[in-house]
């Protein structure tokens, strides 16, 4: 918050760089110049996004299916649901839904751990004994 008469951006600009040439700049996306030019920034970005999209399309069909079911019911969304379902079935045939399902299972198991195992309530214990 308020600093007495200081101008933060100028302070930030004066922050000395570390061994990698990194310093506090105006934006976190500012990086020091690379040692050799890295051309075709837009092409590189577009290819990166395309690959990420492809990976998600192939391996995250369940998310696509859940999203389709949450759309407001219309003729269009009904078609989207059909497409999402058939996409899910297609990738499932190649086992591509398994990684995310397995990870989700591991995560759930980890979440279910407790510090102490819960003891059954006395009434339940009595019923069990009876």
């Amino acid at each position: 918050m308020p600093r007495d008469g200081s101008v933060p951006d100028k302070v930030i600009e004066r922050t000395p760089a570390d061994a990698n040439g990194l310093a506090l700049s105006l934006s976190p996306v500012d990086l020091p110049e690379p040692p050799a030019p890295l051309p075709n920034g837009l092409r590189w970005t577009t290819i990166t996004i395309a690959w990420a999209t492809l990976v998600l399309l192939l391996l995250n069909a369940h998310a696509l299916r859940s999203w389709a079911y949450q759309l407001p019911p219309t003729d269009l969304s009904a078609k989207v649901v059909t497409l999402a379902e058939s996409w899910y079935d297609n990738v499932d045939r190649f086992g591509l839904n398994r990684p995310v399902e397995a990870m989700h299972g591991w995560w759930q198991t980890a979440k279910d751990h407790r510090f102490r195992e819960e003891q059954p309530a006395p009434a339940d214990a009595g019923r069990a004994a009876g």
């Binding site: 918050m1 308020p2 600093r3 007495d4 008469g5 933060p8 930030i12 570390d18 990698n20 990194l22 506090l24 105006l26 934006s27 976190p28 996306v29 500012d30 990086l31 020091p32 690379p34 890295l38 075709n40 920034g41 837009l42 092409r43 590189w44 970005t45 577009t46 290819i47 990166t48 996004i49 395309a50 690959w51 990420a52 999209t53 492809l54 990976v55 998600l56 391996l59 995250n60 998310a63 696509l64 999203w67 990684p99 995310v100 990870m103 989700h104 995560w107 980890a110 979440k111 279910d112 751990h113 407790r114 510090f115």
Partner: protein
């Protein structure tokens, strides 16, 4: 439309393709971004898109009037006052009308006037605090001659630009409008940082913040008196981590999304819980708001230029109003008062500390500062003043059930510790990741990013809770 959803993902892919295909014309590119921003905002409530447009026109028009009155200082000031008042009226009506009417009704009842005031239910437009503050900062900067006037299109886009529209960072005209003046150039460094920030933000929000909210914080804060002291303590620490991971994740994603469209947003967080004083905390937490409050409120109230007494008043008033900015509730005012009084105390201590007294070790300063912040968060998060007191009473072991850890699980504890660990990582870790990524082949980075998003998706709870700062 929330960032970590498939709907937003599809929306972003379309906007990305359209804006970069239109890079031959900067004007068309900006128009596409503007329309996209209105669609993004209208996803909640189309009526408020008009408010957004009117607010931009209002600020652009008031700035023109200030500029046109260049020779008459009194007229410049009059236009500024009118412009700021108009912004505050919009903010006041939507955000504080109900709160003040309820207070007025209570006050009248105390005075013996039993009146049922007709209190309208006013829907709060998402992000109104952010875009009105941006509009006001533009007007004040124009008045102070600290920024160049913006064209109507640029001004409208500044206020509507979807990455920062609903929860900041508060981007000032002097920072963003010059970037709107030409088609931006996409560099691999910017893109790599954008992708790294998006994935990092997604992890913090969808895994840590959401898990802590659903598994611990929401339940305990809903009824503090029903929980044991250990659960209450865990929920307080959990909320400190949740709000950091939630809000900083939004900022990271906003900065990352803007970077992929070619624009640079400023920093908004810098490991806030490693602050060694509250003054230091506010250099690290919600930097765009704290610098806004400093430049436009604290300085206007006198700041440090009129003696210690005035400085203390300015600090306290700034923090109280900063608290009220978050919402119309006494708890936010108390939160602001806690921060304000500790800032004043720190200042007085610096002034009057006996020279022979040695300063505390840094680790102890950090620990004390963090726990003051934690105390503030309890008021910030609790639904009412009574709940906050019940929470604090429960922590002290008063009125609560026996000490228990029914809510805290090993996973939740691990997430709290993980969220705290982020504060002690090297300062430029994410930038170092960005530097490595930009030198790698695009296909490898894309596959890696896709797989990481997949892991996050497998870990997140069902559904996506809105970001905490959406309500502000």
């Amino acid at each position: 439309m929330l960032f970590p959803t498939l709907t937003f993902g599809l929306f972003f892919l379309l906007v990305y393709a359209a804006t970069w295909l239109a890079r031959g014309s900067n004007e068309w590119r900006k128009i596409i971004l503007l329309v996209a921003s209105w669609i993004f905002y209208g996803w909640w409530d189309t009526r408020f898109v008009l408010l957004l447009i009117l607010s931009a026109i209002l600020n652009w028009g008031a700035a023109r009037l200030i500029l046109a009155a260049d020779e008459k200082p009194w007229l410049r000031k009059a236009w500024l006052v009118l412009g700021v008042a108009a912004n505050l009226t919009i903010l006041g009506f939507f955000k504080y009308y109900g709160f003040f009417m309820v207070q007025l009704e209570a006050l009248l009842r105390l005075a013996g006037w039993e009146r049922d005031l007709a209190i309208m239910q006013v829907v709060l437009p998402v992000g109104i605090s952010f875009f009105t503050f941006q509009g006001m900062s533009y007007l004040i900067d124009i008045y102070r001659r600290q920024t160049a006037p913006a064209a109507l299109l640029d001004m409208t886009l500044l206020m509507s630009f979807f990455p920062h529209l609903v929860a900041g960072p508060i981007v000032r005209a002097s920072h963003l409008v010059p970037q709107f003046e030409r088609v931006p150039e996409m560099t691999r460094g910017m893109a790599a940082m954008g992708i790294a920030l998006i994935v990092w933000g997604l992890f913090k929000k969808a895994v840590i913040a959401s898990e802590l909210a659903t598994g611990l914080v929401d339940t305990v804060f809903f009824d503090p008196s029903a929980h044991g002291s250990l659960d209450l303590i865990a929920a307080a620490y959990g909320y400190a981590v949740q709000i950091y991971c939630d809000f900083s994740a939004y900022s990271d994603m906003a900065i990352g999304i803007a970077a992929l469209l070619g624009y640079r947003f400023p920093h908004n967080f810098n490991q806030p819980y490693r602050a060694a004083s509250l003054q230091d905390f506010w250099r690290r937490w919600h930097i765009s708001l704290s610098s806004w409050l400093r430049d436009y409120l604290y300085v206007s109230l006198g700041g440090s230029h009129h003696g210690l007494r005035r400085l203390c008043f300015s600090l306290m008033a700034t923090m109280l109003l900063g608290g009220l900015w978050h919402g119309a509730s006494w708890n936010f005012v108390i939160w602001g008062a806690i921060h304000g009084s500790v800032l004043v105390a720190e200042r007085l201590w610096r002034e009057y500390r006996p020279k022979s007294w040695r300063p505390l070790p840094a680790w102890l300063d950090i620990l004390v500062t963090f726990h003051i912040v934690l105390l503030g968060w309890i008021f910030f998060r609790a639904a009412s003043f009574g709940d906050a007191l019940a929470f604090l009473g429960g922590v002290a072991g008063r009125g609560a059930p026996a000490v228990s850890t029914a809510m805290l699980t090993p996973m939740l504890l691990a997430l709290i510790l993980l969220g705290m660990t982020f504060h002690f990582m090297p300062r430029f870790t994410i930038q170092q990741v960005g530097m490595r990524l930009r030198a790698m082949p695009a296909s490898l980075v894309g596959i890696g990013a896709g797989l990481l998003i997949l892991v996050v998706d497998a870990m997140r709870p069902e559904g996506v809770a809105p970001f905490i700062y959406y309500q502000f």
